[in-house]
Symmetry: C2
């Protein structure tokens, strides 16, 4: 049984804790989350631990990155369970601010990342990456960690964050962590909890279709045909609809050039099962 | 004769210098400028000195805050003179990055401040405050000062910066410094160098018209009539055109309510003399 995890809820309290560690010469790692933690999040905490003396995890369901018809209200929340899991994974401090602490009246500043945030989920979820970029800028400034860890599961988000940290000259190292998967390859996600048993079986096709699409693109097969064949496979497997399956240049998320792929490739997909939207991606 | 001022041109070199001071427990002040320094800038450096052990001034003519038909190319530049003036004012380090150092290929992130950046110069100079907000965010992250000083001469800019620092939780104190003025009250500005002798005489009316408008609003005279009478006075004095004269709530730059003004007031103006655009403001 782990000791109880300390929880702070204000920027001032967070800074007091982190400031004391830094004054003692300790290196600080940080993992922002929206709670509803699973093994994927815990792997981020453990990775942060290998790079830092102290690890902070934030738990904040950020309203500004949800669209008006998305699942902000329904998003699963269980702080006590999250705290227990974080403590077991070696986290030293949970930062769980309120919406009012994060966005006091008069808040008016938005961080916009061009390029990498525009395609894929940028098209499917208008405003989503502005919400992500802004809250991550705030969280990084609030915590001031030496290193922050984000999952490759949200690959486009990871590239958006790498871009803003570079462009705004934020003094923090950004580390991507491999996607944690279930035994059948399904990427772990808090939204998997929404799936019925039947949907859960269909969901497992997503990673298989991505793996096959990546293999075909790397083998030199035409990109557009591979993508549309992957969309067909997901629909045939039972997905309600497919937002996209696309092969892209990993660092920029630009389209691949014509002809056989040269250089690294990342294949990204978003598809829906009933009211649940799943994303996944794979690269070489 | 002052000793020669050290100059750094890269983020890495700036961080090395500032990091050494911080490691020694010294407090760091910062004054961002576009060079072409005058007594107004030097007063910012001297104010920074009263709050910090070391003072950095940046000299960077930021292309992203100039519109396509504005004076980016013509903006006066004289680094050797700037360095000598800064040294005399007690500055410890000049940071003079190149455009390529500030905006490497692929730069794609913009900081947008809603509300306070929208009226006045936000309308007159589309994109200007996005350029200001982004470069100031970068400069503050690059230098990581304890306190940064900006002039009230650019009052709307000061409020934009206060807003973004608060909203993005940047760990720095922002200090506004009173506007430095010539003997006839003209606000000191690098752009005053563009004025002919005849224009320079007309320019002195700007601060007098602002003072009179502020007096009238504070005396309870109707705001709209006072503003339009001030515009007429500037045109009668010889200004080519007037972008605006407006009385606003200082902190938010929102319009004043109807009826006699209650609470603090700031009157802001922008007007043109030939190709030169001058701004000024006054408050209680």
């Amino acid at each position: 049984m782990s000791a109880e995890l300390p929880i702070v809820r204000t920027v001032a309290d967070l800074r007091a804790e982190v400031g004391a560690w830094k004054a003692a010469g300790q290196r600080v790692g940080f993992t922002p989350t929206m709670g509803a933690l699973h093994e994927g999040h815990l792997s981020l905490v453990r990775l942060a631990r290998t790079r830092a003396d102290r690890v902070v995890a934030s738990v904040f369901v950020n309203p500004t990155q949800f669209g008006p018809n998305e699942d902000f209200e329904a998003y699963p929340r269980d702080e006590a369970r999250d705290a227990a899991l974080l403590a077991e994974a070696g986290c030293d401090l949970m930062y769980a601010p309120t919406v009012a602490e994060m966005y006091p009246p008069g808040s008016a500043t938005t961080v916009i990342v061009g390029g990498v945030s525009e395609p894929l989920d940028g098209l499917a979820r208008p405003g989503h990456f502005a919400g992500v970029a802004t809250v991550v800028t705030k969280l990084l400034n609030q915590c001031a960690p030496d290193v922050a860890v984000f999952g490759e599961k949200d690959f486009q988000q990871l590239q958006v964050i790498r871009t803003l940290v570079r462009d705004l000259d934020m003094p923090v190292d950004i580390l991507g962590a491999p996607t944690a998967r279930a035994a059948d390859g399904l990427a772990l996600s808090s939204r998997n909890a929404y799936l019925t048993e039947a949907e859960r079986r269909i969901a497992a096709h997503l990673n298989q279709v991505l793996a096959e699409a990546l293999r075909r693109v790397k083998a030199g097969e035409p990109v557009a045909e591979t993508e549309s064949s992957a969309v067909d496979s997901l629909k045939a497997a039972g997905f309600s609809s497919v937002d996209y399956v696309e092969a892209r240049v990993p660092a920029t998320l630009a389209r691949l050039g014509p002809g056989p792929a040269v250089g690294p490739v990342r294949v990204l997909a978003a598809a829906r099962l009933g009211r649940t939207r799943l994303i996944d991606n794979m690269g070489d």
